[in-house]
């Protein structure tokens, strides 16, 4: 992430053990599991409605504890990417 980035309230998370386990972890930290990301196995799309929708920095709070969960192999808060039509 760099200057001028816009942080969203969406996260990409890698959890092994299937969608039920992902649902359980999402619920524990207040997220909603929106399902697998395309055809990427073990990668889930989490959404947190109590985190500001767009922010200039990565807001910390109780939802951040998910980063420390040992069942979460990798997690990334989604940043808005500037894309232009050609």
């Amino acid at each position: 992430p760099g200057r001028g980035d816009v942080y969203t309230n969406h996260w990409a998370v890698r959890i092994s053990g299937g969608p039920e386990r992902a649902d359980g972890i999402a619920e524990r930290y207040g997220y909603r599991n929106l399902g697998q990301i395309g055809s990427l196995e073990d990668h889930y799309h989490f959404h947190h409605s109590r985190v500001v929708r767009r922010a200039a920095y990565s807001v910390k709070g109780p939802h951040s504890f998910i980063h420390m969960d040992p069942k979460v192999h990798w997690i990334q808060q989604q940043v808005v990417k500037s894309r232009v039509k050609r």
């Binding site: 990301i37 395309g38 990427l40 990668h43 799309h45 808005v80 990417k81 894309r83 039509k85 050609r86």
Partner: protein, 801 residues
């Protein structure tokens, strides 16, 4: 063996006569049917049973030209999380792009509506993903929708093409690409077609876009009707092929479907080209649905050709492929694609071989070139990695640099082919460098991998920089993709024959005979074929007594016979001697300084007087590749490095970025998309765009306030004249004034919490320590007249008199 079908010379779609890039309808106008789409149709290939989807802002699925081929299984709305890709309609028509792209691929034929798609019987879907916050998740989801069902994904978007952005796919999107090519189409690999950037006017380089420079995407560029570089086109080494698009004044345009069930001639840029290639790939897949993702790229390399496309960097690589940084391997040829596809045999598996030269940090000195070389065997010891015949070549670099845009990077293959991985970008002032950035080139396609590779990094400071801050190359890795066997060997006898010619066995047998003969004192053997009728006293060219063609050298230095004179010499026919050119000439027709044909390194051929010079005359630029002074574009007075990168314009034109565009009359501006003068906002006299915040000068009766023109100044502003401007300007009143009568301390009304004292607004606070002595100090130093001290107990002192 053309298949019988409907008459293809005429379709009843109203825009069919305008589709000049597919057919000739008028014998009097130029024919630009080199993409041979009609030829592919006539062979019966129209895209049947092939599924293409457009990753964009949605497609109008009930458009009369799309409804027949629309495929809801190839569609999804990632923004709205449902299955309807219909674009969001708004008054500004922001979401027209996907529908325009879709029509080019698969608009239905002979339905009396609009146009005919390149693959007019293919199924077409849309993935709506650009109408919202685009994140790594959104991109990864979009690229991974129904990979076993969708054959071709066409994307005409990317990071900003502003000449300063370096951005590419995030970790999820990278994985989605990899999954697509490994597992998509039941293991044959998804086909991703990508539009190269449109930032030519900003001097952008498509190597800075990680999508179009990915090995998994087919990067597509555009050319104008006459084969010129469109104003928007970017250069880079990852471009694979080209199609026609619009982009030059007074040339014909591309027609396609538009939202609201309409047709348009306003679609331009490389967004035109990616869907055309997607459509042509659909034709090839109909001819052979078993083509892998790499087969499709090989087909494009083999069948695309320079045609009449104008570029000053066309070169033939060591495998015989003609390639350019503007157009890749050239204009696509649909008929050649389907013909090759029908007889194609899958290329051998892709191998990858990487090598990282020593990890020693090396400084990049300003105005110098850093060379780093590595000699490789193409991992010949590792059968699973062995790359003998090249496909994509990637260079991953970690470079730290104070101004990224000053860098130029080239890669030179063992065969001597030079590929420019990055050109200088004047607008990129970032000090972030390139951190594990991957540059990709297709220019070595088919060449052999073994030998010495050289990375060349040149730092040419475009602005004054701190000379103590040096750039440095921390690490670089050469990643070769390709095959261990000749990919085409199984295809034709000719290749087997070539292989036999490469076998040195027969020459080896002859060598001992020559050795034996050289040991004899008196030479009775055969003379070299360059020797003339007087014979020789040895087998080599320096043993000739006279020459059949030309003699090179002098009696003092020794003479030798040559078939052609080397560089720096010309062929004097009457004396059969190689004579020196004038100093600075590389090739010439006489020793005169005005008879040069090409120049030595560092000098440029002035075509006006055929001499070599180190500076080019006005209106010309020094072309490093051709070492020649090349004329700037007609509209430029001066230009830099390219004919169309103008730095000053001819009369009647003005500079827009690096392009000269026609000057428009007052009240209008030049609209680059529409290529015409369009009206400014009513409040502007002159402007740079249609918005009310894009005025340069205000219309009569309007005053300039901040970035817009207004009829009266807003509260907190006063009107005043500014030298050099024909209209008045609204200046901001002094701090904390709600209204004022002019500049300085002329407030007439204050903000809440401030009091008006001596036409100044002073905060409503009292200073406890503002006694007589203190106030005398304030007064004698005139502190209250100075803006910085205005709130400094001034109110208390003034109230106390």
């Amino acid at each position: 063996s053309l298949q019988s079908g409907p008459s293809l010379s005429y379709f009843n779609d109203p825009k069919w006569p305008n589709m000049w890039y597919i057919h000739c309808n008028d014998e009097n106008s130029r024919c630009r049917s080199e993409m041979n789409i009609l030829g592919a149709w006539q062979r019966g290939y129209t895209g049947k049973n092939v599924v293409v989807t457009i990753l964009d802002d949605g497609i109008e699925r009930n458009h009369p030209d799309l409804i027949q081929n629309f495929d809801h299984l190839a569609s999804y709305d990632v923004n709205g999380n449902d299955h309807d890709p219909t674009p969001r309609y708004d008054s500004r028509n922001e979401n027209i792009h996907g529908t325009r792209c879709a029509g080019e691929v698969a608009a239905a034929a002979n339905n009396s509506h609009c146009i005919v798609g390149v693959a007019y019987n293919a199924r077409i879907g849309g993935i709506r993903m650009l109408d919202g916050d685009v994140t790594d998740i959104v991109e990864a989801k979009s690229l991974g929708i129904r990979p076993d069902y969708i054959h071709v994904y066409s994307a005409s978007w990317g990071p900003k093409d502003d000449g300063r952005t370096v951005d590419g796919p995030g970790p999820l999107t990278k994985q989605a690409f990899e999954q697509g090519i490994q597992k998509g189409r039941k293991g044959l690999g998804s086909i991703f077609v990508w539009a190269a950037g449109n930032g030519g006017r900003q001097g952008d380089h498509c190597s800075c876009d990680g999508y179009t420079s990915s090995i998994y995407t087919i990067s597509v560029s555009s050319t104008t009707e006459n084969g010129n570089k469109p104003w928007y086109l970017e250069v880079c080494s990852s471009i694979m092929a080209t199609t026609y698009s619009s982009g030059e004044f007074h040339e014909r345009k591309i027609v396609t479907t538009d939202i609201w069930h309409r047709c348009t001639e306003g679609h331009t840029g490389t967004s035109v080209s990616a869907p055309i290639v997607a459509g042509i790939i659909a034709l090839a897949l109909e001819a052979n649905l078993l083509l892998t993702w790499r087969d499709v790229q090989h087909l494009l390399v083999k069948t695309s050709r320079p045609a009449h496309l104008k570029a000053d960097d066309w070169k033939t690589n060591a495998a015989g492929h003609r390639v350019s940084h503007l157009y890749g391997f050239g204009l696509v040829d649909a008929e050649a694609m389907v013909l090759e596809a029908t007889k194609w045999r899958t290329v051998p598996p892709q191998h990858t071989c990487s090598q990282t030269p020593d990890r020693q940090t090396r400084h990049i000195h300003a105005s110098q070139t850093l060379n780093s070389s590595v000699t490789i065997s193409g991992c010949s010891q590792e059968p699973e990695q062995h790359v003998a015949y090249l496909e994509h070549v990637v260079v991953r670099v970690f470079i730290v640099h104070p101004r990224r845009g000053d860098l130029e990077i080239n890669l030179i293959s063992p065969s001597g082919t030079r590929s420019q991985l990055l050109a200088r970008r004047l607008f990129d002032s970032s000090n972030e460098g390139f951190r594990d950035w991957e540059f990709m080139t297709v220019h070595f396609w088919g060449e052999r991998s073994e030998g010495r590779w050289t990375l060349e990094i040149t730092d040419s400071p475009s602005k004054l920089r701190n000379p103590e801050v040096l750039g440095s190359l921390k690490e670089w890795t050469l990643i070769l993709h390709g095959t261990s066997q000749n990919p085409y060997q199984q295809h034709s006898v000719q290749h087997s024959h070539s292989k036999m010619l490469e076998n040195p066995g027969s020459e080896v047998l002859e060598e001992p005979e020559l050795q034996e003969e050289e040991e004899e004192e008196e030479y009775n053997g055969p003379c070299h074929s360059e020797c003339g009728d007087q014979g020789c006293d040895g087998p080599n060219t320096e043993h000739c007594l006279n020459c059949i063609h030309f003699s090179l050298g002098s009696l003092k230095s020794g003479r030798t016979c040559v078939s052609h004179c080397p560089r720096g010499h010309y062929e004097n026919i009457s004396s059969r001697r190689c004579r020196h050119c004038h100093k600075g000439c590389e090739t010439c027709v006489s020793p005169s300084p005005g008879d040069c044909l090409s120049c030595r390194r560092g000098l440029y051929l002035n075509t006006l007087n055929s001499s070599c010079t180190n500076t080019c005359p006005p209106g010309y630029f020094a072309d490093e590749n051709q070492r020649q002074c090349v004329k700037c574009h007609d509209t430029c007075v001066t230009c830099q490095r390219h004919a169309d990168k103008c730095s000053a314009c001819s009369k009647g034109y003005s500079l827009a970025g690096m392009t000269c565009v026609p000057e428009c009359t007052n009240g209008t501006f030049f609209h680059l998309e529409e290529m015409s003068c369009s009206p400014c906002h009513s409040s502007c006299k002159t402007c740079t765009g249609p918005g009310e915040e894009e005025c340069i000068q205000c219309a009569e009766g309007f005053l300039q306030q901040e970035w817009r023109c207004v009829q009266a100044c807003a509260p907190g502003y006063y009107s005043g004249k500014t030298t050099g401007l024909p209209h008045k300007i609204c200046h901001r009143c002094e701090e904390n004034c709600l209204s004022c009568s002019g500049p300085g301390t002329t407030c007439t009304k204050c903000q809440a919490g401030y009091s008006l004292i001596s036409k100044t607004c002073i905060v409503n606070a009292l200073c406890n320590n503002a006694d007589e002595v203190f106030c005398e100090m304030v007064k004698s130093n005139r502190l209250c007249e100075r803006k910085f001290y205005r709130q400094f107990c001034c109110r208390t002192c003034l109230m106390n008199g």
